[in-house]
Symmetry: C2
Subunit: 354 residues, 2 copies
C-alpha cells in the first residue's frame, strides 16, 4: 500500500448520518439527543427511531462543535507549581473528584519554577480551552500569569495563595491559627526554645513564618528562625536541622512549614544521632498522606482540604446564587487543626509543669 500524505481517518459519525439513517432532519436529531422535550414535543415513534440509529451508528457528540456554539468546554484548568509535592498532589486529587461530580475534567498546567514557567501558563490561557482556572499555591512570582488571568474571560480562583490577589477570588487556610495551635501544643509540653523552618518568600509558608514570629514575639520568647531561602524539599529540611543543632543553644522543638520539610528534619535528626521526640520535637504542616507513617509518626496541622477545594470549585464554576461579580471578590478562610502524633513530647530536661 502506497503511503498517502494524510491518513484517511475513519470518519466520525455525525448528526447528519443519524438524520439520514432515521429519515429525519438534523435538527430533530439534535432535539432528541439533547432531550429538549420540555420545550418542543417529539413523536415517541420518531424519538425511538432516532435513538436507535444513534446507538447503532455509535454516535458521539463532537465537543468542539458544541463549544463553537457557546457550550462550556467542561474543562477546568488547574495550575500548580509542582505536582510532585504530596500536598498538592492530594489537593489535585480532591479537586479532580469534586470536579468530576460536576462532569468536569482537569487540565493540568504545572508551573514548575523553570525558565519557561510563565509561558506554560500563558499557553493554557491563550488556548482558552478551560471554563475556569484554579491556582494552587503561590503564583505571585509569575506576574505575567497573573496579568493574563485578569485579561482572561475565564474566572479564576486562588487556592493556598497565602495572600490576596486583587480581583481574583481566594480560598485559604488560617495559617496563623495553625501555627498558634502548634505552638500551644509545644508550650504545653514544656518547650521554650522552638525553631521554625521555612522560607519567608512564598505565600502560605511566609504567612506561617510570620505567624510564628508574631506569636513568639508577643511573649518575649527566644526565636530561632532558619531558612530565609529554604526550598520546600526534604533536602533543605536536612540542612536546616543540621544548622539548628549546630547552634550554641539548640532548640528542643522545631516547627516545619510543611510536612515535606519535616520529613527532611526527621531524616536529618536521625542522621545526627538524635532521637525524635526525646531529643527533638517536630511539628509539620499539611498532614500529607505519608505523615502518619513517618518514623516517628508526625505531629502536624491538617487543613480541611476537601472542603476548601469544593469551595474553590464553587467560586470558580459559580455556586447557585452567587453572581460572578461578587465571586471574584470573595476570600474564604478555613481553620486547620492540630493532629498530635509521635513526633512531639516533653523536652529531655523537662521535669513536669513548673
Amino acid at each position: 500500500m502506497a503511503a498517502r500524505p494524510f491518513a484517511t481517518e475513519p470518519r466520525e459519525v455525525t448528526m447528519n448520518d443519524i438524520a439520514r439513517a432515521a429519515g429525519v432532519a438534523r435538527s430533530t436529531v439534535s432535539r432528541i439527543l439533547n432531550d429538549v422535550s420540555t420545550n418542543v414535543p417529539v413523536a415517541p415513534e420518531t424519538r425511538a427511531r432516532v435513538l436507535e440509529a444513534a446507538r447503532g451508528l455509535g454516535y458521539r457528540p463532537n465537543p468542539q462543535a458544541r463549544a463553537l456554539r457557546g457550550a462550556p468546554t467542561m474543562l477546568l484548568g488547574a495550575i500548580v507549581r509542582d505536582i510532585t509535592d504530596p500536598f498538592f498532589a492530594g489537593a489535585i486529587e480532591a479537586l479532580s473528584t469534586v470536579a468530576r461530580a460536576r462532569d468536569y475534567n482537569i487540565v493540568l498546567g504545572h508551573a514548575h519554577a523553570q525558565a519557561n514557567e510563565a509561558l506554560a501558563l500563558a499557553a493554557m490561557l491563550e488556548a482558552r480551552q478551560c471554563d475556569a482556572l484554579v491556582l494552587l499555591g503561590d503564583m505571585r512570582d509569575q506576574p505575567a500569569l497573573i496579568e493574563d488571568l485578569r485579561l482572561s474571560r475565564a474566572p479564576a480562583v486562588a487556592l493556598w495563595q497565602g495572600t490576596e490577589l486583587p480581583g481574583i477570588a481566594a480560598v485559604d487556610v488560617d495559617n496563623r491559627c495553625g501555627i498558634e495551635q502548634a505552638l500551644a501544643h509545644l508550650r504545653s509540653l514544656g518547650h521554650h526554645r522552638i525553631a521554625f523552618v521555612g522560607s519567608r518568600l512564598q505565600g502560605d509558608i511566609r504567612e506561617r513564618r510570620e505567624a510564628f514570629v508574631g506569636a513568639l514575639a508577643l511573649e518575649g520568647q527566644p526565636i530561632e528562625l532558619v531558612g530565609l531561602e529554604v526550598a520546600n524539599t526534604p533536602a533543605d529540611g536536612v540542612a536546616a536541622v543540621r544548622a539548628l543543632m549546630a547552634l550554641e543553644l539548640p532548640p528542643t522543638a522545631v516547627v516545619a512549614s510543611t510536612d515535606v520539610i519535616a520529613a527532611g528534619i526527621l531524616h536529618g535528626a536521625a542522621g545526627l544521632g538524635l532521637r525524635v521526640p526525646d531529643d527533638l520535637s517536630v511539628v509539620g504542616f499539611d498532614d500529607i498522606a505519608m505523615a502518619a507513617y513517618f518514623v516517628p509518626a508526625l505531629t502536624t496541622i491538617r487543613m480541611p482540604t476537601d472542603v476548601m477545594v469544593a469551595a474553590a470549585l464553587d467560586l470558580a464554576l459559580g455556586a447557585v446564587g452567587v453572581s460572578p461579580d461578587a465571586r471574584s471578590k470573595e476570600h474564604r478562610v478555613f481553620r486547620p487543626d492540630l493532629i498530635v502524633r509521635a513526633s512531639t513530647a516533653p523536652p529531655r530536661s523537662f521535669k513536669g509543669p513548673a
Copy 2:
C-alpha cells in the same frame, strides 16, 4: 442595574474584527496569521497592517473553531488510578514536562478505584477532547475503559501496565530485572530468609511478585510471601511487617513491591522496636522522591522514568518515521537499577561470607 438573564460576555475578538480593522478579507487574515507565506505570497504592507490590527485588538485564535476544521486539540489525556501515589505523581510531572515541550497540555482522568471508576474514563474518551491517551498503571480491572479505548480514534499507550493489552502500545519496566538486582544485593549481604510484600493482583506489582517467586524457587530458597491482598498504602505495609515478624522464623529482609509500602514497613518495624537495617533489611521499588529521606534512607529500585515517559509520548503522538499501525504493536521495556542506601545491611547473625 437590573439583573439580565445572561451576562453579555465581552465578545471575543475574531478574525472578522481584524479583517474589518485592516480592510482586508478574513481569508487574508487567516493566511497571514498562520504564516502560510510559503504557499501564497502576501504583500508585506498588507501583512504588517494585519499583524498590527491583530496585536492592537488583542486577538487570540479560537481553538474550538480550529479543532472543528481538523486541527489537533493539543490535549493529551493521562489516565491514572491515583494521583496521590507519589510514584505516579512523579510520572505525571515528567509526562507533563515532555508534553509541554511539544505544546501539549495534560488532561487528567484519574480512575480512582471507586464505583464510578469506568464512568470517569469513558466520559473522557466520549468527549474526544484528546489527541492521544496515556494510561498510567494497571487498568485491566476496568474492562469498559479498555474496550472504549479500542473503539476510540485516539491512539493510546499503556505505561507501567505490567502486562500486554492487545492492540495497545506499551512501555514497561523490566520488573524481573529489578527484583533480581534486589535479591542479588540481599544475598550478597548474607540474607537467606527474604520476604516479599505486595499484591498479586495488579500489573507491575504482580510481575514483581512473580519475579520474586521465580528467582527464589530457582535456588530452592525458602520463600515468604505476604499480602495477596495488600493495597499500595503504607498502612498495608505496617500490617505486612507485623504479620511477617509474628512468624515462627521471621525474615531478615523484606522486598516491598513499592516504596509506599516500604514506608509502611519502616514505620511498622520501628513500632515493633526493630531497627532497620540491623534487625531487618528493607528494599523498595520506584525510588520516589522521598525514599532517600525515609528513616533510614531506603534502598530501592529506580526506573528511568523520564526516558520511559518520553518513549510513551513518542508512541502516543507519533515519533517521526513510525507508522500509526506499527506503533500500536510496540512494546518497549526498560531496565531499572538498584540504588543502595541505608535500609539494607548484613543480617545480625551474619559473620561474614561463608
